[in-house]
């Protein structure tokens, strides 16, 4: 066994997730009901440690640029799909495509798979052998460029690759 119980649950990681979940409870419950909130926050933090979720580290200077990029992608994605849904002839040309992943960090890959569903016309299916299976609404759209740009942005903000 690579990790002992003490390593797993008495660590910086446990402290990080506990503080995060306690803060979340404090915000959402308005600082009330701690007799439920503390056990729930600790249980959630233990689950995060058990699943091996690392402490979030990122480059603070890259955050504003990433947020701007992400918000623009979110608006473009929502507008694109809304336009297709509202038009009477519904211009769709769906297909499955495969995106070769550059990111090696599992955290970058996980966030990419989650965030790609908010980009215009792309949806993550599964990660298979360094490729991300994507469903695209219209395969004539420049999906490759937009996913590659998102991947670059994520790797940059998470500190993978050159600064």
């Amino acid at each position: 066994m690579p990790y002992s119980w003490a390593d797993r649950f008495l660590s910086r990681r446990m402290l990080f997730w506990s503080l995060l979940y306690v803060a979340l409870w404090g915000l959402l419950a308005g600082g009330k009901g701690w007799y439920i909130g503390i056990p729930c926050a600790l249980a959630a933090a233990m689950l995060a440690c058990w699943l091996g979720n690392p402490v979030w580290t990122f480059r603070p200077r890259a955050v504003p640029g990433f947020l701007l990029f992400f918000l623009r992608a979110l608006v473009a994605g929502g507008w694109d799909v809304a336009r297709r849904a509202v038009q009477p002839r519904m211009p769709l040309d769906p297909a499955w495509v495969s995106y070769p992943l550059t990111a090696r960090d599992p955290r970058s890959r996980l966030l990419l798979a989650a965030a790609v569903s908010l980009l215009p016309g792309t949806l993550a299916g599964a990660i298979e052998a360094d490729h991300l299976a994507l469903h695209v609404l219209d395969h004539t759209q420049p999906w490759l460029e937009s996913v590659a740009r998102l991947e670059q942005q994520l790797m940059h903000v998470l500190g993978e690759g050159p600064a």
Partner: protein, 106 residues
């Protein structure tokens, strides 16, 4: 100033509702599970974001804004995760069509 904020808030709320309606239209009209997931995930996340923006502009306190923003982030995280899980499940079903799906509607 207050008038301006009220107008901006109203515009954001109207656009938010538009995206919710468009997402629902997509859910009803799109031909397959994956395309429907596109509609629900993207349009509803943006719709909720605009509703949160609109309500933030007329919120009484910073605390209320922080709560709404946290709710938006949590909904965004859960909707992208649920979307991925549903897409993966349907993909496996498509690959093994001989397996009967007890929960699926005819």
């Amino acid at each position: 100033m207050t008038d301006l904020l009220a107008w901006l808030s109203g515009i954001a709320l109207v656009f938010g509702c538009f995206f919710f309606v468009a997402g629902t239209l997509g859910l009803l009209r799109f031909p397959d599970v994956y395309s429907r997931l596109h509609a629900v995930t993207k349009a509803d996340t943006l719709g909720l974001g605009l509703v949160v923006l609109g309500l933030s502009l007329r919120a009484e306190s910073w605390h209320a804004i922080a709560i709404m923003f946290a709710v938006w982030l949590l909904v965004m995280a859960s909707s992208t995760t649920a979307c991925q899980l549903l897409a993966r499940y349907q993909r496996e079903q498509d690959r093994n069509p001989e397996q009967e799906d007890d929960d699926a509607l005819p």
